[in-house]
């Protein structure tokens, strides 16, 4: 694992408060599990509404968590006055997302002035069992001086 230093000492608070403002995360029931400089984990407990027809988490849920973890991992490294948005991501679904909960982990592999690149992994957990169900790779863009209350946005603007 790479070591990054946060430009903003309040990175943890900023990540968590931005996350809380994303209505869709509350709608899904997702929660921030861990925040380190350049690393974020998001947790989501099982609910039937989140499933496809076999009772597994829907792939869209898996992709959403991976994207969002990547964005917040990038966001943990930007300056106080900056925000971040998703440019693109790719995800491979490698095993059924079957379990009591999902854990999405994103790690920054490159933190540039404008762009960050993250590797993402999503795990399906049941009791002690932890199976990787997805692997992803995404690009996120720092928006300098974009807001009084800058946040991560999983959406691309006038990039």
């Amino acid at each position: 694992m790479r070591n990054f230093e946060a430009l903003n000492p309040d990175f943890d608070t900023r990540v968590r408060s931005s996350f809380k403002r994303q209505a869709f995360m509350g709608f899904l029931g997702a929660e921030i599990e861990r925040v380190e400089p350049g690393l974020v984990e998001i947790r989501l407990d099982f609910r039937e509404e989140l499933c496809q027809q076999h009772g597994f988490f829907h792939g869209g849920v898996v992709g959403t968590l991976a994207d969002n973890a990547g964005g917040y991992a990038g966001f943990s490294l930007v300056a106080r006055e900056d925000s971040i948005l998703t440019v693109e991501y790719k995800i491979n679904l490698i095993a059924p997302a079957k379990g009591d909960r999902l854990l999405a982990r994103a790690q920054v592999v490159k933190s540039g002035r404008t762009l960050s690149v993250c590797e993402m992994a999503v795990f399906a957990l049941t009791g002690e069992s932890k199976v990787q169900c997805a692997s992803g790779l995404g690009t996120f863009m720092t928006m300098a001086n974009t807001s009084d209350d800058p946040v991560f946005t999983s959406s691309s603007g006038g990039s």
Copy 2:
């Protein structure tokens, strides 16, 4: 646009009935808008619960619709006894997903014995305005003889 022929004359019914069994689609409020052999459109009206913090559709919602449209576009071309699952997809978020509703369109560009490849586009619509907010490309796998009631699954199994 390429022309594909459906192997299964009931492709339209199968796509719609599979879609209805995906709890997550109902939870989001998404609906099938159009089904042709090798082409599927999914529509989703605006709801605040689907947003990120600026009141736009969350990127995860955009990605979910693109993935699912791709899977069902592939599914429209498989035989009656087969199902399909998402192998992987990549999505670029190219404009804010801001509007009264989203429309995700997927078109098959390659329909192979085992794998299908789809191009996806997601549009944000408001009144007469229609702005492309995402472009995607994904791979989907046909599972032969996998079910009495075969369906598209946005999730990868023992592939």
Copy 3:
């Protein structure tokens, strides 16, 4: 097809002269076939050195052409003092790259201030036959005021 306007009236000359300075393009034998604002085609005639073990063009050659066409399509739209570099791309190889020559076509779908997104297609041609062998999607970054002799670089710097 979208219509873009070139910021730089010399876009055609700039694309062609930049392309000529890429040693690797000369090494492969690739040539610019067509340049429009936001659209570039690259052509490559068959040579045995470019093959994998079955006598088809190697997938790396296909990917290289797609990437480079995408970069130059983006480059055709930037200002005179700017250059461009590849952030990332994804490519699906959908049919054997078997033919007398390859033609890679890239079209800009989003031309932003900082980032451009291109859709790419690669075709294998033999006589009158033209078969799409790859579909791609990539992200390219505009580097403002980066050079006296700015060019497209298929490589990412301190982005």
Copy 4:
């Protein structure tokens, strides 16, 4: 790192002999550096013909090595009578590919009956310095009983 077991005890020989039959690898000057079950490294020394206009390795070269390392990592795990081909890959160029040589490393993260998924990293090396210049993620397909002399093919067939 995951531990995989090779189905074919001759996996090392098969990877190296298949690689030698790829004319394009010889044309570039690439060599197999390391083969383990589920892990392959490819090395390529600097040559001016492989460059873009700034004297760095061309992005197409970086992508080619990543793709090929991924394919052979997957190939190291298939049965003696099977071959493998590239379905798709995505690559992020995260730093200039500037150095005396490149090293591409691919690791299998999922080895399924039909599909393998690999994570790829490419490094630029100069003396003792080793900088990651690319991160990739790709999907590769096992072709059962496809050849008396089965090989990895970076190209997709009637998949």
